[in-house]
């Protein structure tokens, strides 16, 4: 008749007490399950939605900080000095962030338009194409001389990264079909290598190893003449090292289809290192600089009189203006922690943006719901502890003789306390088990009603998140568009095995805390009392 056995006998034979306590635990269990169910559903919806979002963190200038600092400068000279050495994103800092194992890759994009070359672009046959092309427009100057300028429309989009991979490739938006991506060494050297789309390759019979010739910029003929340059100064050969596919085809039902220019079609995007893009027009830029440097009146600005400002290979990193790097992390759930980890150690005037403002705004009703639900759980648990403590302490009075008898046969007080704990635990498990069924039903019913109420109370429905203006190749937005419906669709109130486990642990916790005070009473019990109270 050990203490476990005694506990079991007590529970099965003291029937009315067991029923009452089971009922108590059943009610507590229902409330706890409803609370936990709703709070877990909210948290899960957030996590699942977060998981669907791209894990992108933007490393960028902190314009608020820059503004504040500039405002604090009272000295004019200091201020102009500050603007001259305007803060910038340092690629070595990005490289450091890339070393973090949570980071997959980064996009630090530098791009330009190409106005043609020795290949034909992929045609859509839409209205934008009809009105674009190459031609000549002639005008009269004030002396009555006609002069003509050739005009061209941009055909290709040259997109460069500072890092030897791109978010789009990591996320399978683009895929290498043949060949490879460019390497860090090729980026450092500014090698004239490129990747073309499968469609462009097919159209022009291109394969890896071929070369293409492209204009990397556009200058009017008369301007070229003026500065003593020619088209050759920004016309280059690029070796194709890879062919890629992408999953953003343009179809007639794409938004704004008629007015998509050739270069806006990803088929006409050509990928190469950022440095290559810069070097592609280095010669013309140098000629431009030399021309202005030779003009007397330009010397006033001082810029052109300083040979250090002359564009060159050596200062290309300084001259390429890159204002952000978008980091792709492996796990969307790491984003907040990642930002937190680095926010302290970042250089001045730079910041990491988790891109989750919209997410947080939309998740607000869920947060509120989860907060209330957790609050209820806490309240119920505290109440439960008080009630069970009182009940146990009161029944202890009736069990004084029993305690005396147990002590008289040499049972330790610890065993007696253990028995009481097990008795309560058995009843708690019974009550909570019964509550699992009913609690999950109630949680489901209440869960959706309160969420609907929360959403109607908040402003998240007023605008459906970001408006979609069509695809923009210039200002790439790596975050997904989110609506409250995305979150709601992930909100599912169900009582999972984890919750069931949690309520059992919670139940045992309640029992444990509830026997603390009765335990003290038992510890203080003087066994002599059983003899004194007999008469």
């Amino acid at each position: 008749m050990n203490f476990l056995n005694r506990a079991f006998k007590n529970v099965t034979r003291k029937f009315s007490k067991t029923i009452l306590l089971t009922l108590t635990f059943f009610l507590i269990g229902n409330l706890v399950i409803v609370g936990l169910g709703i709070s877990k559903a909210s948290e899960n919806a957030k996590v699942l939605t977060r998981k669907k979002m791209r894990a992108v963190v933007t490393y960028q200038l902190d314009y608020d900080e820059i503004y504040e600092y500039a405002m604090s400068l009272t000295d004019e000279d200091e201020l102009s000095q500050f603007y001259e050495n305007y803060p910038r994103i340092n690629l070595s800092n990005v490289a450091e962030l890339l070393n973090d194992e949570r980071v997959k890759t980064a996009n630090s994009i530098y791009n330009t338009l190409s106005y043609g070359g020795n290949i034909d672009y992929v045609h859509l046959g839409n209205r934008a194409e009809e009105s674009s092309g190459t031609g000549e427009s002639c005008m009269m100057d004030e002396n009555g001389n006609e002069y003509c300028e050739t005009y061209r429309s941009p055909q290709f989009f040259l997109k460069g990264n500072m890092f030897p991979s791109m978010i789009e490739f990591e996320d399978d938006e683009y895929n290498i079909v043949k060949g490879r991506f460019y390497t860090q060494e090729e980026i450092n050297e500014g090698n004239f290598v490129c990747l073309v789309s499968e469609a462009l390759a097919n159209q022009n019979n291109l394969s890896v190893g071929d070369s293409i010739n492209l204009l990397a910029s556009d200058y009017g003929t008369s301007y070229l003449e003026q500065i003593g340059a020619s088209e050759e100064d920004y016309k280059n050969d690029y070796e194709i090292i890879g062919i890629f596919s992408h999953n953003k085809p343009i179809t007639p039902d794409s938004s704004n289809y008629d007015w998509i220019s050739p270069y806006e079609n990803l088929d006409n995007m050509i990928l190469m290192p950022s440095t290559t893009i810069y070097l592609s027009s280095l010669t013309i830029q140098q000629k431009e600089f030399d021309y202005y440097a030779s003009l007397e009146d330009m010397h006033d600005t001082g810029y052109y009189s300083n040979p250090e400002n002359r564009p060159s290979r050596d200062n290309m990193f300084k001259n390429m203006y890159i204002d952000n790097a978008v980091l792709l992390l492996s796990d969307p759930l790491d984003v907040d922690k990642f930002v937190e980890d680095y926010s302290e150690s970042l250089p001045q005037f730079t910041m990491l943006d988790a891109n989750n403002d919209e997410f947080n705004r939309l998740a607000k009703p869920l947060d509120t719901l989860s907060m209330y639900a957790n609050f209820i759980v806490r309240l119920v648990v505290i109440n439960a502890i008080v009630i069970i403590t009182l009940v146990t302490a009161l029944t202890l009075k009736n069990r004084e003789y029993e305690i005396g008898v147990l002590l008289s046969v040499g049972a330790s007080k610890f065993k007696i306390i253990s028995q009481f704990f097990v008795e309560l635990a058995l009843v708690a498990i019974l009550g909570f088990s019964l509550a699992v069924g009913s609690g999950s039903l109630i949680a489901k019913r209440i869960g959706y009603t309160v969420l609907e109420y929360q959403i109607s109370e908040s402003d998240v429905q007023d605008d459906g998140g970001k408006y979609y203006y069509g695809y923009s190749i210039w200002d790439e937005d790596y975050t997904n568009d989110l609506t409250i419906d995305d979150l709601i669709s992930e909100y599912e109130v169900s009582v999972s095995a984890a919750i069931i486990l949690e309520i059992y642990i919670l139940g045992l916790g309640i029992v444990f805390v509830s026997v603390i005070i009765p335990s003290f009473m038992i510890m203080r019990y003087n066994p002599k009392k059983i003899l004194m109270n007999q008469n």
């Binding site: 008749m1 006998k9 003291k14 008898v405 002590l407 046969v409 040499g410 002599k528 059983i530 003899l531």
Partner: protein
């Protein structure tokens, strides 16, 4: 006969309204094995107090108690209660959500003493020896009469295989016929089985049947010449 329990200068007092009330004063006595003792004394003389001290339920303010030559302090009170002694109370001896046989098994599960393998069979046999047949042994104890309950308590006191049994007015709630029966059992335990029985009682009928009557007076024990 060899000694089993030796009391040496036991003192017990308590503070009541600022005054120290002395109950036991330099009490010394030696109990021998296989004897049936009764302790008599006026109400309030401290009989129950003495019993609770020698049964390891309370501690004296000073003095020593030796069980078979070893001091209780050294044995430890829990161990002493578990392995060396049994106590029979006036009432409420039994746990009310257990059957009679389960109450007997309770003492067997707590003791460290060596017991026969088939404890349940032993428990039933013990009960049967005291007139509790199997059908009654399986009853909840509130379905037994006061005398039957007391016999269950005695059966339990033997179950853990101890040599020293204390009882505080074990027949206080019983009619005279039942009282006689119970006392006969005690006597048999002492004489046939070599147990030492120490019973506190008010009853002359009980004390007359004992081997040694002891009177508790002025905080000390005196042997009553019968």
């Amino acid at each position: 006969m060899s000694e089993i329990l030796k009391l040496e200068n036991i003192n017990y007092s308590y503070i009541d309204g600022g005054y120290q009330r002395v109950i036991l004063k330099d009490l010394s006595y030696t109990f021998e094995e296989g004897k049936f003792y009764t302790i008599l004394g006026p109400s309030g003389s401290g009989k129950t107090t003495l019993l609770s001290i020698i049964a390891g339920l309370d501690s004296a303010n000073s003095g020593n108690i030796y069980f078979k030559g070893e001091s209780l302090d050294k044995i430890g009170l829990y161990k002493y209660r578990r392995n060396d002694i049994s106590i029979v109370f006036q009432q409420y001896n039994l746990i009310n959500y257990l059957t009679a046989v389960e109450n007997v098994l309770l003492a067997m599960s707590e003791t460290d003493n060596e017991l026969p393998k088939d404890q349940k069979a032993v428990a039933y046999n013990l009960l049967e020896r005291f007139g509790i047949v199997k059908t009654k042994a399986d009853r909840m104890i509130n379905q037994l009469s006061g005398g039957e309950q007391q016999r269950v308590a005695i059966a339990r006191s033997l179950a853990s295989n101890v040599n020293l049994i204390f009882a505080d007015e074990p027949t206080g709630n019983l009619d005279t016929a039942t009282e006689k029966e119970i006392i006969a059992i005690f006597k048999e335990l002492a004489h046939e089985y070599g147990k030492t029985i120490i019973v506190v009682t008010h009853s002359d009928a009980v004390s007359e049947m004992s081997d040694q009557r002891l009177i508790l007076k002025d905080g000390a024990l005196f042997e009553d010449k019968q």
